[in-house]
């Protein structure tokens, strides 16, 4: 068993901030991440930082290199018992016994499916961003972006920079009530400047940014016969775009077909809370924080003592507030372990409080403003595959609801949803929306899939290895 004073899971902006802050105070820190290099999705690639927030993130990476933090990359946390993490790296298993824990496991994208969304050529905004930032490859030659939220803009810019023809950026939200949220933007000049910068460079590139529209169907070429059993699926050729009413329902008669060879989708982010669930933290549903999140106090401590969360895991809010939360958690851990005094901690936290509240307010504003409207689920036609792993269609889900299913967990008994390799990470939130829509309950009432180890697939041969006791 390896032992540490603080284990941080996830080396994105929040985890980096927690690790660097605590290590600087003298805490022995172990930082664990699944990827080969620290930085998370946000600090991937080497392109020069555009915004102040990105610069701040890069600075954390430099600090990390100078501090005595034990870095365990390419390491998956596959289970947790108490504050003991079960680690898996290729061909090795290990326990990490931590006195305190910070979970900074980030977020994933929400995709609201429609017929054709599984065609080759359709991908998430995040996947398009990785292709572009890490490999310099544009998602396609004629690309359409659709979904909701701020991520549409930097991805569109990145594609333009790489020479792709971006046909349009479709924002499902009408942003009609934005002025109500205007007070929340006060003081967040950096983020507003960032948005403005992206919008004006899109305008320069003559890329239309359309509000209240989305893709309701993707069309592929006819499947081609191929060698072997299965015929090759068709490739993406076009998308049907429709206007949306205020509730998000597609307006009949407004459909237009656009020829494209790539479609990038993203309807905002959902916190990755599986590890926090497995650790036994109490959760609550909060639209302003992006859905299900662990319940935390003002120092980011969950209902499990000495277990903290930071960043998108604690509520979707962007890299700025993620780093702030990492810092708050890191300082609290330093105090808990006796490296700084309670009065030092209180002073530091007071210094951060105002800026943190401001960032949080802005994040909550974005989450509320861009939250996918319930009508969007109407685009999930019966033939739409919802669970890709087990090939379950919306029709089967609706049939189960008609037979009395009112919660997500029960749906797993009636259909094979959530039983495949992704363990419902992709389909779970969509299914929850669908059940809610069909039953008239709230998404919160519909519940969640329960997380179970291993959190991601681990080969049996590796599971059979001795754990270093």
């Amino acid at each position: 068993v390896a032992a540490t004073e603080l284990a941080v899971v996830g080396a994105g902006p929040a985890g980096l901030a927690a690790a660097v802050t605590a290590a600087r105070a003298g805490v022995h820190v172990t930082l664990v991440d699944e990827y080969p290099r620290p930085g998370g999705q946000y600090l991937k690639g080497t392109s020069s930082p555009v915004t102040a927030t990105e610069k701040q993130g890069r600075a954390l990476l430099r600090d990390l290199a100078e501090l005595d933090v034990e870095l365990r990359t390419e390491t998956l946390v596959w289970g947790i018992e108490g504050l003991r993490l079960a680690l898996h790296a290729p061909h090795s298993l290990d326990w990490l016994e931590a006195r305190t824990l910070v979970l900074a496991t980030g977020a994933r994208e929400l995709v609201i499916p429609f017929p054709g969304w599984t065609l080759p050529g359709v991908m998430t905004l995040g996947a398009a961003q990785i292709l572009a930032k890490e490999h310099g490859i544009p998602a396609g030659r004629r690309v359409l972006l659709a979904g909701s939220g701020p991520l549409l803009l930097p991805v569109a810019n990145e594609l333009v920079r790489l020479g792709a023809e971006v046909v349009a950026v479709l924002e499902a939200s009408h942003l009609g009530q934005w002025f109500r949220h205007a007070p929340a933007t006060w003081g967040n000049w950096d983020r507003l400047r960032e948005g403005w910068h992206y919008l004006s460079s899109l305008r320069q590139a003559r890329v239309p940014y359309r509000l209240g529209r989305t893709v309701i169907r993707a069309l592929g070429s006819p499947p081609a016969p191929a060698k072997g059993r299965a015929e090759r699926r068709g490739e993406l050729q076009a998308a049907v775009v429709a206007r949306l009413d205020r509730q998000g329902h597609p307006v009949p008669g407004s459909e237009k077909t656009v020829d494209i060879d790539a479609l990038c989708l993203g309807f905002g982010f959902l916190p990755n809370v599986e590890l926090a669930q497995l650790a036994g933290c109490a959760h609550e549903f909060d639209t302003a924080r992006g859905g299900w999140v662990p319940r935390v106090d003002e120092r980011m401590e969950t209902t499990v003592p000495d277990l903290f969360v930071a960043g998108e895991t604690a509520g979707v809010g962007g890299a700025g507030s993620a780093m702030m939360e990492g810092r708050i958690a890191g300082l609290t851990v330093a105090q808990r372990l006796g490296y700084i005094s309670e009065s030092e901690l209180a002073r530091e936290l007071t210094g951060l409080a105002k800026r943190y509240r401001r960032l949080r307010r802005f994040g909550a504003m974005l989450n509320t403003l861009f939250a996918p409207r319930p009508g969007l689920d109407a685009t999930i036609a019966d033939e739409t595959p919802i669970c890709r792993c087990e090939e379950v269609s919306a029709e089967e889900v609706r049939a189960a609801v008609a037979r009395g299913v009112v919660e997500l967990d029960a749906l797993k008994t009636w259909t094979r949803v959530g039983q495949g390799a992704c363990q419902g990470r992709t389909c779970g939130p969509v299914l929850a929306r669908l059940i809610a829509r069909e039953t008239g309950r709230s998404v919160a009432e519909v519940g969640v899939f329960h997380a179970r180890p291993p959190l991601k697939p681990v080969p049996l041969g590796d599971l059979a290895l001795e754990m270093c006791e």
């Binding site: 289970g79 967990d409 039983q419 291993p454 049996l460 041969g461 059979a464």
Partner: protein, 392 residues
């Protein structure tokens, strides 16, 4: 508002579903009350094996044989696909000692009409080429079968609903009413959603049966015996028959409190492999233990070396309703007239569900009972009564 029913079945797992099915088929007005949703307890946290050879000759095997025959019937009468497959199972022998034990097991089974075929090293390899080459052999039991337990539960319930079953899901039983005079027969079930008047109650709440029985004023000897299952990524065709390691029966029959592990591998229709099994008494805790997952993985790789590179995609733990003599409790309780038990099947609930439903039906209708009914009758145990309970 009070509704009336001939029978109220408590518990929507496979045993409750089978009871409801056979009771409805005989024309009774049946209501089934389930705290959460169908198959939300042990019936979705188990494998789906219908085994004969693991049963002790006598009452247990008689039940198993009768139930296996009913399962075959149900594939016709239920009109639903619940992934029933009669592929047989293979008992694996690691060494020569195990093979000798397997041989005598096969002989004993054949003597009472259960087909069994002893396999040597090459015979085993020809049936299951992906097994480790150094295994001594095994025994093939061609009559064993498997189902998807969740689908089977839902199929039984759907068929019962077509025959008039009223299903109350997400409904908790709060109290059981008994008459104040006479023999204090049960008179109703109070739920969170209202009251159902009835003179007959079937408790099929599996491992949670004691929660129900206490409402009626009695304490049952059922204890939760925890088991774990690992699910692999798709490996269609890796094995052709469910496989069980030789030590399996001794872990089932052992009364040991601590952890027992023996390999059980079952291919699902979807191509994933279910890997078990573990047995331990750990209260009602359903959390997955990482050490148990490791122990099962170790056994699995020992017998199926090519699994080493296959990913485990998830795991779950379930609770088996253990009874002190390894026989289920099926039938009436003399102490509480009108209160029937259909519980205590430990790990054999899927296999024994149909015969349980059939016996409960026979008891309630006063039909002729097969000899085995007396051997599984709950009155073979002494019970603690709490007279204060059982509301009026």
């Amino acid at each position: 508002m009070t509704i009336r029913a001939d029978v109220v079945v408590i518990g929507g797992g496979i045993v409750g579903a089978a009871c409801a099915y056979y009771l409805c088929a005989s024309g009774l007005e049946v209501h089934l009350v389930e705290r959460r949703f169908p198959a939300s307890g042990t019936s979705r946290a188990c494998d789906g094996l219908i085994l004969l050879w693991d049963k002790t000759p006598g009452a247990e095997l008689a039940l198993g044989q009768a139930s296996a025959a009913l399962w075959t019937e149900l594939t016709e009468s239920l009109n639903a696909d619940f992934e029933y497959a009669r592929n047989g199972t293979i008992l694996l022998a690691e060494g020569d000692e195990g093979l000798v034990a397997g041989g005598s097991k096969a002989e004993a089974m054949r003597a009472i009409g259960v087909r069994a075929e002893v396999l040597d090293r090459s015979g085993l390899r020809s049936l299951e080429p992906n097994l480790a080459p150094n295994l001594a052999g095994g025994v093939f039991f061609p009559d064993d079968a498997q189902v998807d337990a969740r689908r089977a539960t839902l199929a039984l319930l759907s068929a019962a609903q077509q025959e008039g079953l009223t299903l109350h899901a997400n409904t908790e039983v709060i109290a059981i009413r008994r008459t104040t005079s006479g023999n204090r027969r049960v008179s109703g079930v109070v739920t969170g959603a209202g009251e159902i008047a009835t003179s007959t109650i079937v408790c099929a709440a599996g491992v949670w049966s004691n929660d129900v029985a206490r409402l009626a004023g009695i304490e049952l000897p059922i204890r939760p015996r925890k088991g774990h299952i690992l699910v692999t990524a798709g490996v269609p065709g890796l094995i052709c028959h469910p496989l069980l390691e030789g030590g399996y029966v001794s872990t089932v029959q052992s009364a040991a409190e601590d952890l027992q592990v023996a390999l059980v591998a079952e291919m699902t229709a979807g191509g994933t492999l279910l890997l078990g099994s573990s047995r331990q008494f750990a209260g009602f805790d359903r959390s997955v233990s990482l050490a148990v997952l490791q122990a099962i993985a170790t056994r699995a790789v020992r017998f199926l070396p090519s699994l080493a590179k296959v990913g485990v995609i998830r795991s779950y733990a379930g609770l088996r309703p253990w009874s002190p003599d390894h026989l289920p409790l099926i039938g009436p309780l003399a102490a509480i007239p009108g209160f029937y038990l259909a519980t205590g099947h430990e790990g054999a609930g899927i296999g024994l569900a149909p015969i349980t439903g059939r016996l409960i039906g026979d008891w309630i209708l006063g039909a002729d009972l097969p000899p085995v009914a007396a051997q599984v009758c709950p009155d073979r145990f002494d019970y603690q009564l709490s007279e204060g309970s059982g509301q009026n």
